[in-house]
Amino acid sequence: MNLLIVVAVAVIAGVALTLAAHGGARPAPPGTAPQALPFLGGGTPDTHAWQRFHFRAYSMTLLFVAFEMEMMFMYPWAVVFVAEGLKALAEMGMFLAILSIGILYGWREGVFRWQ
């Protein structure tokens, strides 16, 4: 409950501060077309910058999503680690082994490069 209140207050305060900073300072003249040109060191673009952006690490992100999910199992596991003892240690060994296979496979296929 405390968590939700702090998050709500932090978000509201952040937004309020932003609005105050934008509204409080010197009133600015409206932007003009030459001012709005995206910065290219004096050059000009042909098109809008928003595009079907070729993200060069896309296969890495797919591996990452699966990897992240495995982490979800590890948090509760960490809490009972000492209580469960050796069983938990063996379990972790297996888990890390599975993750390592995934990484090794990804590495072999060249996933962790700029495609």
């Binding site: 409950m1 968590l3 939700l4 809008h48 928003w50 595009q51 079907r52 952006f53 070729h54 993200f55 896309y58 296969s59 992100t61 797919l62 591996l63 990452f64 999503v65 699966a66 990897f67 992240e68 999910m69 495995e70 979800m72 199992f73 948090y75 509760p76 596991w77 960490a78 809490v79 009972v80 680690f81 209580a83 469960e84 069983k87 938990a88 379990e91 297996m94 888990f95 599975i98 296979i101 995934g102 496979y105 990804g106 296929e109 060249g110 996933v111 495609q115």
Partner: protein, 202 residues
Amino acid sequence: MRDAFVIALVLFAVWTGWRVFRVDSMVRASFSLMLSFFAVGAIGVLLSAPYIGVATVFMMAVEMMVMAIFMVMFMMNPAGLNPMSMVHQHRLSIGAGAAAFAALAAAALLSELPDAPVPTDKAVVADLGHELLGPSMLIFETAGVTLLATMVGAVILSSRQGRYGMADQGSRPPGLEPGGEPAGRQPDESGGGHHHDHGGHG
């Protein structure tokens, strides 16, 4: 008091969920969906499931980041500079969505719901850990292996260099005799009228 918060969060989740299909920018759509997940996570925190709630936020922040990246990568006009609507069978879909809602809502309203809330002093995170290492060990291990299979599958499908050459050049089965014509059906002739293969460069 708690119910009022839950109602507000449910409304927020539904509203942001609806926005997903109403905004033009793919980035906004992804992060709208993310907010919908966050509302559900916050409900989880309110309903004494702190781990599930916060983990939802954590997981979905990452997943929706990836979602946004792929949406922008593969959607035409990803930023919605030209407002657009890419829907088909629109009426049918609205009908199906409304029917699903009506049926589920009726089930929720008409059936006798159990009433056994979580005891306030329950150590829910440790419970989950013991469950994972005890009775549900098999589920846990299966999930691990399934996710490994997902990793491998995702890599195979998405990377270009397959074991049998470039993925965009069509597979070429080995010949019946060394160096001879490839055996079986020719992949390049079977694509039909929809085939617009721009691959093969690079």
